[in-house]
Symmetry: C2
Subunit: 261 residues, 2 copies
């Protein structure tokens, strides 16, 4: 379970307490939440015996589990009902240049809400952040999945340099198209650019550069490849966290699971 | 000038210090920044005599102004060059149910980045926030406009109840279509719904409900009107601030200034 923000638990309109657990889930299974989860359930959510929470593990779908034993510091949950089947996240990756801390939290939370299946920090030439706290990113992905009703958590990949990612792309992600958000791309063609990818039905990755954009040599390298496409996000400059949501929105709209499958 | 976040000034990749000013701008005009702006320029940005900043007032475009007089607590800027013409924001309004403080800051900042011309808090039945700090919202709009290179600041409208807005819509916003983001709308039709509005070329408003969604009676009232359209933002539940960015992105893509005009 992820840390909660200062403003208390908030389940994104689901009104339900949901926990990601690293354990198999099936009818009658018992689950003992870890220390952080137990604190949250007992002291923040103030669960009583007989009350229930929703559990998911990214494999077995979502299950309702009731409090069967309750102590001061620990509790046992018993799985009573299968509430939703497993549903994989869309096969869209988000590659992003890490930004400063609070906005990075937002960016990865929003990547989960927007249905990115995998997130990967990439260090570009103009990236100002050199160390990425991957535990913190994971916690943010779990928190967003819990709060926004997902039954899977996006996978976090290790941080790599953009040059290394591009060198290895054919083996890391065979056949996967990189949609890179390019402040220098001709505005006005975004919808057409995305629609042109419809028939190919390729797996996709969205790449967001740092604030300050890509270095000209990076941009040139990206443009030269035949597995990339430059996408203009309109005439205004956006912060990187905004650009990530905007790019995932338009990709989901035209090529992802916002359209009829 | 808006308050700065804890992480220091950040100009969204523009690399330039920009200030919104409430004064006419023209060649050779002198401008004396107010107390907050002066503190920021002298002590945070550490401007020296001869260095320059960019100024805009939402009317006269963007101008470069150099420091001509510098004291410990005040300074004078002299306008030396017209750098960009005025450019109005797209005629797209954002109506939103206010949410908790830090996410509300984000929502309005992002509304500016996404090019909403006007933002209007609306109180719906399930809105959990009853008081809106309009000064804070204004400051956030100004800050986003300064940081993201806009030459206009979105207009903030007074907070109204949704029922009142709908009662008065025909006079408040004649001929303006309300695109309301509806968690109950059939997923899969968002692109087609937006494309169907292309030819009408109407002025637009995007309406984002609270976390928890619209009340069934509100939804019914919205659906019954002939100046509304329900938009599905895909199969996942999003936080309201994410939904605002997502909705503005897809509207800008298909109907706004991300397409060729």
């Amino acid at each position: 379970m992820a840390k909660r923000d200062n403003e208390g638990p908030d389940h994104c309109g689901t009104g339900r307490c949901r926990l990601f657990v690293d354990a198999p889930l099936a009818l009658d299974a018992a689950y003992e939440p870890d220390k952080n989860q137990s604190h949250y359930l007992i002291h923040v959510m103030r669960l009583k015996v007989g009350e229930s929470v929703l559990l998911f593990n990214g494999i077995d779908g979502e299950w309702r589990a009731g409090v069967s034993l309750l102590g001061k510091k620990s509790l046992t949950l018993s799985v009573v009902e299968h509430t939703r089947p497993h549903h994989p996240l869309p096969d869209i990756w988000l590659l992003f240049a890490p930004i400063k801390r609070s906005r990075l939290d937002y960016m990865v939370q929003k990547a989960a809400e927007m249905g990115a299946g995998k997130v990967m920090p990439v260090i570009t030439r103009r990236t100002m952040v050199s160390r990425v706290n991957e535990d913190r990113l994971s916690a943010n992905l779990v928190e967003a999945a819990e709060q926004c009703g997902l039954v899977s958590v996006p996978t976090l990949e290790p941080t790599l340099k953009l040059d290394v990612v591009l060198d290895r792309w054919a083996e890391m992600a065979p056949g996967r198209r990189i949609i890179f958000c390019d402040e220098s791309a001709e505005p006005g063609s975004a919808l057409e650019s995305l629609q042109a990818l419809k028939d190919a039905n390729e797996p996709l990755a969205v790449l967001i550069g740092p604030e300050g954009g890509f270095d000209p040599s990076e941009r040139e390298r990206l443009l030269r490849r035949d597995d990339t496409i430059a996408l203009s996000l309109g005439p205004r400059i956006m912060r990187a966290d905004t650009a990530a949501v905007a790019a995932l929105s338009v990709v989901q709209l035209v090529l992802g699971d916002w359209r009829k499958s």
